[in-house]
């Protein structure tokens, strides 16, 4: 079974490809949706095409599926429209798939399930990375606010942090919000560092 993954994000495509390899599929190709990607795809004659539901290029792909004479006409993803749980899971995970007409449902279903799991795993990694990134920038902001307090009020680092924390608690805000406000105010007053 030849599986083509159309994806902008190299990382997500690799995560999916790896999963498919582990499950014993070995005819897998990754095509980024740029330029003449539909012509490339047509030449590959895939059995299954997996694509990010959020990709703006889905309309381009579907147009090719409609007009292509080179391709044994693929049909849309949801091979069995009665399988609503599967469809729901796929849409939630952001997976769309096109499957060549005539391919048995039992053969396709494990591929779709795997794609759903891998897409979900990828989304989780991404949100963790996002959190880590924002934690890092939060710490920078707090550090800068601390040094403003240390300089202007001659506080120790510990006291500066305690002051920020108390202010945040009193105002019902996050420390980083108070720190940001302090930096902004300090910049406006020309006393920034």
């Amino acid at each position: 079974m030849r599986i083509v993954i159309i994806d902008d994000s190299g990382l997500r495509a690799s995560v999916l490809e790896e999963g498919l390899h582990e499950a014993g599929y070995d005819d897998i190709h990754i095509v980024p949706p740029r330029g003449g990607f539909v012509a490339r795809l047509e030449r590959m004659a895939p059995d299954v095409v997996l694509m990010d539901l959020g990709s703006p290029s889905r309309d381009t792909l579907e147009e090719m599926l409609t007009v292509s004479r080179a391709l044994a006409r693929p049909i849309a993803m949801f091979v069995d429209q009665s399988d609503e749980a599967m469809i729901g899971a796929a849409i939630d995970a952001g997976v769309s798939a096109y499957v060549v007409d005539g391919l048995r449902k039992e053969r396709v279903k494990p591929v779709l399930e795997l794609a759903v799991r891998r897409f979900n795993a990828f989304a989780k990694i991404q949100s963790e990375l996002e959190e880590a990134r924002s934690a890092l920038s939060d710490r920078k902001i707090i550090d800068r606010a601390k040094s403003i307090l240390m300089n202007q009020r001659s506080l120790s680092e510990q006291d500066a942090y305690a002051l920020l924390r108390t202010a945040a608690m009193n105002q019902g805000k996050k420390i980083v919000e108070v720190a940001q406000a302090l930096i902004t105010a300090s910049d406006l007053l020309g006393g920034g560092l």
Partner: protein, 404 residues
């Protein structure tokens, strides 16, 4: 009691009424907590609607007809009780290509028939078969482009290449030289002009002066099962549409749409369609087109069945559907004036007495029979002066000369 409702949209200026309904309290006043789901392809918008991730969608009118007739992936019976706008499209072509056309842009746009013939001549001069981007096979834009090209004897399936790509990728594709021009909803044409990649060749409003564009589409079964929610939503949208049409709110609306969670394009580009002041060539003064995009006035939201049938006639003309009375009836039934009437029965919205009309027959503003209030229909003529009689589709179709 508040009802949650999810509606999918594409980042386009003509999502305005939905955005205003959410952001300016019209939905809330009707007890609806509106959640707008930003989507980047028509395929995904359709899937979200058909599989129930959203209850309604900002949909290309021809796509709603095509999905219902089973011409697209994921066939399903859809229903459109409300039109979100008429007009709003623009055809732009690479500046080099446009050199072969009438150089004074105001004259070029005022004479779509002459420009279509100039365009036909320009095809032979271009270095390849011109590649024109369209947002979808079943889009008002593609249908309008085909209609316009064919008027000058250009066969849109043979003499040019129509390439499907989403509105948000049009400018990038122009830049990369993958397409030589495109027809799309605003602000994407303006964005290409602003980048000096293209200039305006035709505007939708001059091709069909009241061209059906986006509808609010529901799954038919959901629409039938939730009459009260549908009625409340339609009442909210009618008020939001009036708000959008009011020039006093334009600045506010422009900035709402510019936000990253909506269209995510500069406010000054979005303003061009809303104010009807188009810059057709970079650096030139703007051209005034007050009917560039309509939301509420002239009973714009009313889903005339004759308009669904006009779309059907064009699908037949281009061989996308077999012509038979059953298909025609199903296509016409996608537009639901009965629901519109029910929802707005107690409002002061002027209500047309009929559900079908001749399309293209109104040359100057015309007061028409209305169940309530004054209703004036704007001019709705086609640039080639043809009139579409929904009761005589065969006659209408046989009036077009074969292209090959």
């Amino acid at each position: 009691m508040t009802t949650g409702l999810r509606i999918a949209f594409l980042p386009l200026t003509d999502a305005a009424v939905l955005v205003a309904a959410r952001e300016r309290g019209f939905a809330e006043e009707e007890g609806i907590a509106l959640d707008l789901v930003r989507t980047t392809s028509w395929a995904t918008l359709r899937d979200r609607l058909v599989f129930g991730q959203v209850q309604a969608a900002h949909m290309l009118a021809p796509l709603a007809v095509a999905v219902t007739l089973g011409l697209s992936q994921q066939p399903a019976a859809l229903a459109a009780p409300y039109k979100l706008n008429v007009n709003g499209n623009m055809l732009v072509m690479a500046c080099d290509f446009a050199k072969a056309l009438e150089p004074v842009i105001a004259s070029r746009l005022a004479d779509p028939l002459g420009t279509a013939h100039d365009f036909a001549a320009a095809i032979g001069l271009w270095r390849r078969k011109p590649v024109i981007g369209v947002v979808h096979r079943f889009s008002s834009h593609a249908i309008m482009l085909r209609y316009w090209l064919a008027s000058a004897g250009v066969d849109p399936d043979r003499d040019v290449v129509l390439r499907v790509l989403p509105p948000s990728l049009t400018v990038e594709a122009m830049h990369a030289g993958e397409i030589d021009g495109f027809i799309a909803g605003e602000p994407w044409g303006s964005a290409a002009v602003e980048a000096d990649l293209a200039e305006t060749v035709a505007i939708g409003e001059r091709i069909w002066r009241r061209g059906v564009e986006k509808v609010l589409a529901f799954r038919e079964s959901w629409l039938e099962e939730n009459p009260q929610t549908v009625d409340r939503l339609l009442r909210a949208l009618v008020r939001a549409a009036a708000w959008c049409d009011d020039p006093a709110h334009r600045d506010d609306l422009t900035h709402l749409l510019a936000r990253p969670d909506y269209v995510d394009q500069p406010a000054y580009l979005i303003d061009r369609a809303l104010s009807g002041t188009l810059v057709a060539r970079a650096g030139e003064p703007s051209i005034v087109s007050p009917d560039f995009m309509l939301f509420g006035r002239e009973a714009t939201p009313f889903p005339w069945r004759s308009q669904a049938l006009w779309i059907y006639s064009q699908l037949v003309r281009w061989g996308m559907v077999d012509h038979d009375p059953d298909m025609a009836a199903r296509a016409g039934a996608v537009f639901r004036p009965d629901i519109f009437r029910r929802a707005l029965a107690d409002s002061n919205v002027p209500m047309p007495g009929a559900s079908m009309k001749l399309e293209g027959a109104v040359a100057a503003p015309l007061a028409v029979g209305s169940r309530r209030g004054e209703l004036t229909l704007g001019p709705d003529s086609f640039f080639d002066k043809r009139v579409f009689d929904p009761e005589r589709i065969d006659e209408f179709l046989s009036g077009f000369a074969p292209l090959r």
